[in-house]
Every structure is written in C-alpha cells, then in structure tokens.
C-alpha cells in the first residue's frame, strides 16, 4: 500500500484521464448520491480526503456515518458545528496546509436550531420558536427532514466561504435520486400557498369567494388534524412564516447554485447489481431534466479492474503435489470460476454505464476494500485510487 500514500506526479491531471482529480481540484460542491449500501459514505469521505491532501480546504458533510468511520476521522456524531480533524490525524492523513479537512455529521435538529437562531429577530423570538410544540416534534424527526437539512447546511457552508470544497454525502434512501428532489420538494413545502392553508379563515382577506373557500379549507383541516392540533399548526405557521420565507428563498437560490456546472458536480455511486443500470439511466435523465450538472458514475465494489489476477492453476502446487493440495486447489478453482465470471459481468456493466454517461460524463470502477474502510491507511488507499482512476473508454 506504500505506493498509494506517496505524492502523485506533479503533472496536472486532465479531466479526460483523471476525472475525479479534476472534480475535487476545481469544483466547490460535490453531491454524492446513491442507494443505501453501495459505499456512498466511504466514497464521499475518500473524495474529501483526496481533495484535502491536494491542499484544498474541505468540509465533509455526512448524514449517517458508521461508527468506525467517525472514529477513523476522530469526529463525534451529534456535534453542533463542523469539527476540524486533529493535527495528528491530518498528518497521518497526509494533509498539509493550506489543505484542511473538517467533518460534520449532520443532525437535522441541530441544523434546524441553527436556522432558528440565525433568522430569529431577538432572543425572545428564539425562545418562543424553540418551544413551539410542532417545531420541537418536526425538528427531531428523521424521516423526511434529512434532505431538507442537508440542503440547508450545504447552502450555509457554501455562503460562508470558509471552505474551498464541500462534499455532501446524501441521506440514505431507497433510490439514489431522492436527494435530487430535495430542493424542489422544499420549495414546494415552503410555498406561500401552503401557508395560506393554515391561515385562519377571514384573516387572509380577499373577496367573498376566497373567504368561502377559506372556510371550507378550515373545516377540512380541523377534521383532518383535529381542532386542537389544527390550532397548533396554525400557530406554528404564523410564528415561523418569516423564517420559512427565508428558507424558501434559500431553497430557490440553492436550486440555482446547484445548477452551475463550473462549481458543482453530481456523482452517482452504484454497485454491481441488477438495479445499477436502471438507477444510472434514471439519474442521468433526472439530472438533465432538472438542469443539475451530472459528473459521472462510480461503480463501487466492482471486480472490473481485477483482470491482473491469475487463475489458480495446478502448476502453483509445484511438482508432485499431495492429495490434500490437489483437492484444496480444486475447491479454490471453483471459487475462482465464480470470481472470473463476476469480473466479466462487472466489465460489461461498466461499459454500459460509460455509454449511459454520455460525452461530458464518465464511468469508472473502484474495487472492494476487504474489511471495509475502517482505518486511515485504507481510506487513503481508496482516495488515491479514486484520484488516479481512469474513466472507462467506450
């Protein structure tokens, strides 16, 4: 592994040969998408590490790190601000100034509280908002809040300008695309028309028709939510209307920001399964439709690069092998057959992804890391591999 930890040659990498290098050296935001279990968190951490090792000031935002990964970085979960990795660990990771690596395990509640603190007018308002029952419940919810809060955190750190690059590991989801819908869903949720639903009838003003419609909605709402809860909800929307309007603007500017191909790249991490091709196809389509800059596909846990392995031939056993040795090798050969066909499958898959990625995107493969990326050397190993990875050429 020693050759992976040495500094790379000083020739600047070109996008065509080393697409990951180009991304982490020049973009400001990388959004790493992928279904659960494909190695998305490890990949995005490795990307952040690679960028920091090349001298950039990097923030790794993640939602659901494994405990071991958090330990490897020396970062606790549930801290209310990003933390810098300790100097010893930076040194261990081969990161030298100006390069730096901060990490933050996103906790939706903490992000929401930060927003309230930042946008509230005075301490009294903070107090009132933080104690609102609906707010307390909502901000503690995991389901559905992660996407919003990841987006908000991304917005905040981007504006702050403290980092050259923010790498966002998107929340785990059934399909890789859930996060893409985030900004639009957020804008929808924060849409003024939804507030109207919860403004008590009559207060909204307007003509006879509007008042009548308002009364109907009022009735529907109080039946759906129950009288008492409906009043709580109305109060929530009234107290938070200012903050929600700001968040709505942020969501709008975030959509604009994420569409900038010079600054942003969307990566899809996938693994060799039946679903990966259809996921990739869908991802490509959706990013195009939404005007988001698609960067490429990373086929993780792939054996596509394993072509330099050799088949365990009988010659390995030397002259006159024992019966035990022969039977052992025979069993190994069965496993080797399986791995060889998996390699062929993965190469085919990679070729399909490369075709899917089009002219401006790329597809590349990364191998399985035995035992997972649980310590700094293996994380460095993965990050170097990604940095130097060549795209599949159709």
């Amino acid at each position: 592994m020693s050759d992976d930890t040495t500094a790379p040659a000083h020739t600047p990498p070109s996008a065509a040969d080393q697409p990951i290098a180009e991304l982490i050296l020049h973009r400001k935001i990388l959004v790493v998408c992928g279904a659960g279990g494909v190695g998305k968190t490890t990949t995005s951490t490795a990307l952040a590490l690679a960028a920091a090792r090349k001298g950039r000031r990097v923030l790794a935002l993640t939602v659901d790190p494994s405990r071991r990964l958090a330990q490897t970085l020396g970062v606790d979960r549930n801290l209310d601000t990003p933390v810098s990795i300790s100097p010893e660990r930076l040194a261990e990771a081969g990161i030298e100034p100006p390069g730096s690596l901060d990490a933050w395990m996103l906790d939706p509640k903490l992000v929401a509280d930060r927003v309230v603190h930042k946008l509230a007018k005075d301490p009294e308002q903070i107090e009132r908002l933080m104690n609102n029952r609906i707010y307390k419940g909502l901000s503690r919810m995991v389901a559905g809040m992660q996407e919003y809060m990841a987006m908000e955190a991304l917005h905040e750190f981007h504006l702050e300008g403290k980092y050259d690059l923010v790498v966002l590991d998107t929340p785990p989801s059934r399909n890789a695309l859930a996060f893409l819908e985030g900004p639009q869903r957020m804008a929808n949720f924060l849409d003024g028309r939804i507030f109207q639903l919860f403004v008590p009838a009559g207060e909204g003003g307007g003509g006879f028709f509007r008042r009548t419609a308002g009364a109907v909605i009022d009735r529907v709402n109080s039946m759906v939510f129950g009288e008492e809860s409906y009043r709580d909800i109305q109060e929530f929307f009234q107290s938070f209307s200012g903050i929600l309007t700001t968040l709505n603007k942020n969501a709008g500017s975030m959509i604009e920001l994420l569409g900038n191909p010079d600054d942003v790249g969307f990566l899809l991490v996938t693994s060799p399964t039946d679903a990966s091709v259809s996921d990739a196809h869908f991802f490509r389509d959706r990013t195009r439709e939404m005007g988001l800059p698609f960067a490429g596909f990373v086929l993780n846990r792939s054996q596509a690069l394993a072509g330099d392995r050799t088949f365990p031939a009988t010659e390995l056993l030397g002259p006159e092998p024992t019966a035990v040795a022969r039977s052992a090798l025979k069993k190994l050969q069965v496993l080797a057959e399986v791995e060889r066909s998996e390699m062929e499958r993965d190469i085919h898959l990679l070729a399909t992804l490369a075709e899917e990625s089009g002219d401006s995107g790329f597809a590349l493969a990364t191998p399985t890391v035995p035992g997972g990326a649980n310590d700094m050397p293996s994380l460095i190993h993965i990050s170097e591999r990604l940095y130097h990875a060549a795209p599949y050429q159709v």
Binding site: A35, G36, G37, S66, R67, R133, K136, G137, L138, R140, M141, V142, A143, G144, Y148, R174, N175, R185, M186, N188, F189, D191, R193, I194, Q196, L197, V216, I217, R219, V220, M223, V224, F225, G226, E227, E228, S229, D232, T273, A275, S278, D308, R309, F311, P312, V324, A325, S327, A328, L332, Q333, V334, L335, A336, E339, R340, T368, P370, G371, G372
Partner: protein
Amino acid sequence: MKELFEKRALLITGKGGVGRTTATAALAMAAARSGKRVLIAEMGEPEEDLAALGRLFGRKTLSADPVPLARNIDGVMLWSRKGHERFISVVLPIAALVRAALRSSALRRMLDAAPSLNELGVFYHMLTLARAESPSGGPAWDLIIIDLPATGHALGLATLPDRVLQILPNGPIARAIHEGKDVFFDPEDSAMLVVTLPETLPVTECLELLEGLRETDMPIGGVIVNKVVGDEFTEAERDVLDPLVNDHDLFGATRFLGIGMVERSLRHLRESTGTPIWRLPELSTEGPGLIHGLSDAVLASSNDSGDVE
C-alpha cells in the same frame, strides 16, 4: 423460522446490498407454502419500474392495490398518497368534501412535501392493509411482510409514531397512530427482522442498528444472516492455500478469505446480541429458483443464537 409465521406483520430491514428483498420474498414463499395467506409490500411509487420485490416474482411494477404474485402471495406497493386518500376519506364525512380536499393542489403539495407526512401516509396505508378483511370475515391476509427501504428508514419508522404524537397528541391522526401502534408495535403480533451478511462490517452495522432499535418500542424479532457460504475447506487444505493466496494475486482468493470469516462473524454476532439468529445459505440460482430454494432453507432453519435449543 416457522415460529415467525404466527405473527401478523414482519418488518424486514438491513443495510442495502445484504439481500433484504430476497429474504422478504423467501419468507413469504415459505409462509405461503405453510398455508398462510401472505401479503408482501415494498415502498415507493406504484407502477414505477423500481419494484425490486415485484421483480423477484416476475413483475416489473407493483400497484398500490394488492395483486396476486404467486399461490397464497399477494404483493402491494405501499404508497403515501394512497394512505393520505384513505385517511382523508375516512375522516371527512361528506364525499364532496373528500373530492374537494383531494383536488386541492395546495393540500396535495403539502402532503407530498411536508416532512414525515409522507411517511405517515405509508404508515396509514400499512394500517389499512392490516385491517382489511376477507369476504368471509377475518383478516384478508394472515401475514404481512414489509420490505423496509434502508436502515435509516427502519429507525425512522420505529420512532415515527411517538414523534408524531408529540406534535399531534389528539385528533384523528393521533387515533390512527395509536391503532397502528397496536398492530405494528405489539410483540405478539409484529416483529422487525434485521438482515445482514456474515462479514465484519455488515455485522457491526447490524449490531448498531439493533442498539438503535432497542431504544424504540419496535419489537425485535431477530437477525437473518444471509448468504452464508458453507466452508468446504478442511484445516489441512487451508494450510495449503493460505500461503498461495498471500503470494499470488489469484482469482478465488477474495471468496476463499471471506469463507474463513463467516464463522468468526457469526460468533461475534451471537456473542453480542441475545436475539434469535437464523442463517440463509448463498445459492447459485437466480430468480424464482432462488426464492424457492431459500424458502426451503427458511422452513428448515432454526434459531442459531445458542441459547435456544
């Protein structure tokens, strides 16, 4: 694993890539073969091509209303919008009001976008299916098996009812949640099963998930260790191969080393948790043959946690 078939609902979770959907299908097939009427469910949009569970039964998509997949097995896509519609039509007394509410684009957008209302819709859809009755009376299905999307969702679902009750302690939503808790959180009727692989990292993640789940009211049924490969190597054969795979870059080495880790991972799992553990074998078949083969294994499988039997 047959003892699980006496429940009303099984919730299957685990990290992506561990074979959760396959395990769901195999459990369903085994229960169906034991004479149970089974409903299997996954989450998503009906008619979209991502129906992984449907695919195992040769269907590209599933709909929000149950359809027959195999003998004694129906399949459904749990869909938040279906749940919302059902809920609204139960709560609102007048059909015209229901139609107006469902036509309201603002309400529609709110239901689609508000945090957790989506999940609540899915929860309510689950509840309506659990309550569904057969024409002859009694529940329409003996057993409902739900393929939950990912680890995070399992915890999200496990904590959802109490979180929502915190926000909305009274009213129709709260009543529905209490009713849902009676079904899905009752250890008599329901169990969550965590699927994992016999490898170091998946076992660690499984233990973390179990720890998280123990802080909730969700009844934990046990762990299913999937893709357990039988170790066909004798000690003497290992001694021959160990130096070979170290000195050469060989095809087959990854699997050979992985097999050596299986028993160690299982032991770690056994020692770290008191829940039942079942094994499912790795089979080389695919599609319906795989599900059938695994259902054989389900029917034959007994608790491996060491403290039972």
